[in-house]
Symmetry: D3
């Protein structure tokens, strides 16, 4: 069984049920999610051994978060329980022409104040094949930026394949550094980058004329880089998107099928499902099959409520190969 | 801050959750709504000062209704609490080819037995710019017809702009008068009429060959009339409509964009959101922008459960201008 | 009032609410359903007298099942309460590209161990016009196969019209006999067969080149056969199907309208609604109208949660005739 | 199987879930209940054949009410569906020192406007042993008072035993007659009266010094009277009552055990459960056992949410005999 | 109508439904509450005009909080919407021998960073009779301590009666000052103090041998002091408390009845209901009646879910006078 | 960290919400529980390493069960996923004088058909200190009886302390053997027995005059026996019990405090919480403290919904020592 490690914050997710607006709700559905742990959960559901690195507040909310990761098959043994608060994100699901809305309340969370000094990297990375990070973590705090760098260096030392979802978000990066002061060093330690033009532009603080230019630059500048992967999404409305993906190796490009995503149930975590599918695909399949598997995972996640994919290998593969879509399985 | 007054019945709305039928439900979602108060709530959400005129039974149900109006930002100070019952409407949400169904149980409500004698119009209309009524109120009872007329005369006296949503409903008008015995006098006191051909036909008991004929007749006959506004809706199914609107000034016509409304969440109150948007638009924008704003408000309401719009100015404007539709806002 | 009898197992249906997956749910919505009782419930809702033949465990779950049938208008007087368990089916509703999933847990149910000896056929069939069975029942157990045969012979004796929904399901038939050892004898006693090519192939263990061949064979081989009826469904996704139906008399073919079923609420029981519509139609209308009525019933069922149609005659007829689809009815 | 007929209004019951107040609720739990139908439902649950006489509005709410009665085992064949509205009662469950609160909205219901002319008494009372009415029905309207009298005369003609729960409620009797103008004639046709001192006083408009005086008067004045039954309840709080009952024959008195009812779940319908138990008891047991059975039924109803008892014969008998109270039954 | 002003933080309250633990919940019930706003809501429910002073984040959560205050009858016109976060408290309801548990997450809330400079005290205190504060506010931050002092000085200047609920909480006071450095100055401006021995001890950093000593000291040291009020609670379990209260004037002591509070529904906000009752009582009744009214309000709050009392004057008065406790009111 | 192994079936638990009866429910709350896994979950919550031995069906229901065990901190690595069904138990919570009711539907579950041959005992018992079984497992099937014996022999071989909860249930033992043919051999391998007189009587098929006789017999006959532990429960009603426990060593008896358990939330799993507390206590404390800890764990479980204790060490210890019961912890 392949071993994977992921790192990143896990937040309490609070959403009004159904299509309700924040203003009118009288209850919140409770989930726990975070980009990298969502990736880990997808992989654990498919039978890989996944450990997630994060930190939780030492209270019942933190314990519940940990329990939820375990339910999803993630090994939580390396997670410390610290003083501090749980990061929260409020999510209002959009519908039709109304957008989904996220209110972050994650400042000063136990994880963003955590320095990771207590981590025993030998133990953590023992027997591990793949390490996954995202651009959200270094954006949270100086400590988190440092922890990300440290984890990447430790992974690199041990020859572990590293994937990073650059995932630039303008409303983070409030701790005093700009992305381009932090990200290039992290990218240089990464083998598989999930990123579009905008992510490259923001992380490097440079302008590019085309994705071809981006691609050439990236393979030139980052010697460990094996694949760039990007998804293309057209949002017709909150309920209806079209999505496809491309995988760029140095010399070849592989495109996935395009999916018509009408009747979207939950848009959150679809990029993470895609990233999980990509890691699984690159570990088990050829690049073309990998990108198809990844895109099928990302597509079907739109039908599952919550942050996490929760779909079996068989379901992903059937969708990737176009079998029996939408029939009742008895 | 502009001051608005609206008048009309507010009912208890009881709906089976989700897509359930009346026959199978074991609970009702509770809302309070009424066409004119819905208009007021949209305007209050955008920061205007809105007072609503109605009457409630003097019991816990009536108090709760009043509390809900206040939550939505409406000033309830003029509402009397009287002996009598709360008007009720049972709403079963349609889906697909199955229609939504409304069962009214509003006869003998506290409001329909209310004569409005206690209203102090000087206090109510102090500093008010706009007054809104609908054709539902005069259809409820002789007292309500009289109250509507009285309120319009008081508004007219003070030079307040008056909008009326003619809103002919055949299952009302049970108190002994025909629409054409009541409505023309009310229309004559109105500056902005929301109405289609059928409304004009029923309210005037006349036949028209085209909307052009209607329009010419109306601007001729009603000297205060500034705008006629009508919406066009094609119901492909309960879940899928196409909608657009037109604003007719004496000399000019302005048309809104057309919206494809798939994945409809709640059809009720969409005309009221439109009317709210129209009033806001005519108070703040030019006619062309006003009808676009109104139609965007009406369109996005289809995504919000309940009777009331609950969307911010910014959301309406982004939709009207076609920005960022269906993206996640973080 | 026409009298109808239906026979078959009724199971406890357990579904995660909304779009949740089995893995993530914390509650199950409870329904009771079974193909033939669903047919009966549709007919009872339209005012016919329907008795259902089944058996329930003699415990609170069985009593509740019986209560639910009665609520739906079915006469439960012939149902025995026996030692044993309630058959269960777990249903996860699909959405978008994700399929619905059914886990059956019906082995050793009270019904599948029931031999029907206690039935007094004279009493049961007194005044009855129509008897309906499906291919699920003989697939459950040797006893059930025998009971089905016995019921058909008793109905035939009394000249009652018999309809059968062949409904071949590969995951049943575990009791030691193959369909072709059981079904032909049952088909020979049936006047109206609901079946597609695959059903005929599996039930007769023969290959056919076309449905025309099937049809010719069937009218040749089964002397009581009056109509074959089949539906055609294209599953674009779990949320979006296209459906239509055809009725084959010996000499004539009648086709229904085709329905675009977007925004599907509940796919289960749609074939049963169709069968109910067909029986009603053949009892009251000409064949062409019957197949239109049946298909409208089947189509509108997709909008109703649960196993049972719960739509009025008027709703079906309005849909069949294309009136007022998707408007709010007040 | 003994046949019973009951008569009376069935209302839609709307309650905030749990301990919520009307002012704060966002949903109502939906039940259907009415004193006499609740009595019937208790009896039907124990296997007797019970027909209930009432009238429902001819809409989905009325159909649902009828379905619920059928689920509870009641024969609804004699119920007409008429124009008009469904009577409603809003129920807020009390807790601790806070009282339960009922808001009635039953004026002008389909039943209170129903004259019963359509009833075929021969058919209704064919084979019937017992007829039950309550003092609520004649209090609703002149038509209902007349219908009650008519039903009692028809029952008397056929020698059917008649029980009446006098159940004086001061907030009814609004149609122009006083109880003492109506009730004595009804009481004179009744064999078993459930009533306390206050009921006798109000129904006869007379003062009594003691229940002994009441009893003597009653057996003197009402020749058909066989039993007077009264319950004594001490309300320590909404959550904690003490209750016991007495049965007075002409010459003997039988007292039941007293029950400490802490942790009350639903106080509504407990008198109806008692009345159901009394009828069952008098039909099957000696008076002493009957009053014990009745009181056990009334006591255990406090633990069941909704209007209806829903407890088996065995459960009642175990409680009456003090067996295994509060153990887990496996 | 008397005018009241209250000041203090309002938090989002998140509770697992029913008796669930944090570890097992999948949803949170949403309420908004804060000690002083709860006091205000009780008073507004009884018809007084109450304005609350606080600050909310300028996002949908803050708007919803404001809407909820308005629903409860509070005038929100003075509340600013500022950058920052909403304070949160997680509440797990205890049951039996298991304690209720509160996790505060209120650091850096919009209110605790608010300096109140923008307040126009002339406008705020225009026509106001009573001002209420609690010891929670000065414990939140240096800014909040200053704001409290400022508000008290402004109230004092205008001769407004001031009540303060000292409410010492050890887990607050983290901003660098000790209670005794802040509270004495606030107490000196207060007319009515709700406080027990422990509150006095902590706020003054002094030891007292008895409450008599406390009382003598307080009336000596604080010249504006008119009443000290304290409640005594015995917690038999989370579900069962005994409670009573005493009001100390300089020369007289008034004791309330004692209440047995079994079957507790929600313990939170009971002290605030008491304080609201006290203010109402002192404004309208004699001291003895005031303390009875206050204790009845505090007692009955234990039966109402949420932070807020939501009981009518009549309900409080009936409980205070011992009428009809626990009967169904129709 | 101590390592514990537990063995036994885990079932899907389906309960109507709140106080609803089976007959009236429309949903089931979903839990997973089984006596021995409940014991394990209590121990895992306190930080011990617990592996549970069972078998699940290889479908989504089985995977969800496994996920739930992991959430509760249990190591699920040894659990096989096999063809077959999930055992189910339907639980209706009692209230007041109404008993809780369990309907078992566990025959032919994946676990009861599992022979355990695949277990690698060396791996399972590596480093393990304590093994726990109950009398439910050998009662399920011949295979389960054999598996229990085998597991006990393997534990004994390795010197692991063994606890057994004899837990005689008359409605099990349907596979052809009597308890006394199976249990004595299992008891002989057990160090700590949780059992009352009835359990000994049924397991040994012998009569005893007193528990003293039982105790003498047991210590004589079972050489490995160190402690017998029994609880005494008085069921005043489903909502109100009194409970205490005794621990019998060969020469000494230790009694726990007695707890008044009013307002019971969930009676199920309280014996398992007690057993978990006992194991924890005997591993960490002296016998007297162990029995107090165990009884506190058992008592507080009555306040937690579901099968599992979910209370922290600190909560148990505070209850055992009588601190701060029923206060709000902030």
């Amino acid at each position: 069984m392949k071993k994977i490690v992921t790192i990143g914050e896990v937040m309490l997710r609070l959403s009004p049920p159904g299509n309700q607006r924040f203003f009118q709700t009288h209850s919140f559905d409770v989930e726990f999610g975070g980009s990298e742990a969502n990736v880990g959960a997808a992989l654990a559901f498919w039978g890989l051994h996944v450990s997630h690195l994060t930190a939780f507040p030492d209270n019942e909310i933190g314990w519940a978060a940990s329990g939820q990761l375990r339910k999803n098959g993630i090994d939580t043994r390396f997670i410390p329980y610290l003083p501090g608060r749980m990061g929260v994100y409020y999510l209002e699901q959009g519908a039709m022409q109304r957008s989904s809305q996220v209110i972050y309340d994650r400042i000063n969370s136990a994880f963003s104040n955590f320095d990771g000094k207590a981590y025993n990297w030998d133990e953590i990375f023992h027997g591990v094949s793949w390490f996954h990070w995202s651009g959200i973590t270094p954006a949270l705090s100086a400590k988190c930026a440092e922890l990300t760098l440290c984890s990447l260096q430790e992974a690199r030392k041990r020859g572990i394949t590293v994937s990073g979802d650059l995932n630039y978000r303008s409303n983070l990066w409030r701790f005093g550094k700009e992305p381009h002061e932090v990200m290039p060093e992290l990218m240089a330690l990464t083998n598989v980058m999930i990123a579009g033009s905008r992510d490259f532009k923001q992380c490097l603080n440079e302008e590019f004329k085309s994705f071809t230019e981006v691609r050439n630059m990236a393979f030139d500048r980052f010697p460990h880089l094996e694949y760039i992967v990007k998804t293309d999404r057209i949002s017709h409305s909150s309920s209806n998107n079209t999505i496809s993906a491309m995988l760029f190796a140095k010399k070849r490009i592989h495109s996935s099928k395009s999916y018509e995503l009408t009747h979207i149930v939950d848009r959150v975590g679809t990029g993470d499902a895609f990233a999980g599918g990509l890691i699984y695909g690159l570990l088990h399949f050829k690049p073309k099959e990998a990108i198809e598997f990844a895109m099928a995972a990302g597509a079907i996640k739109h039908s599952v409520p919550g942050d996490v994919l929760l779909c079996s290998l068989q379901e992903i593969q059937e969708l990737a190969s176009g079998e029996a879509v939408g029939k009742i399985k008895r």
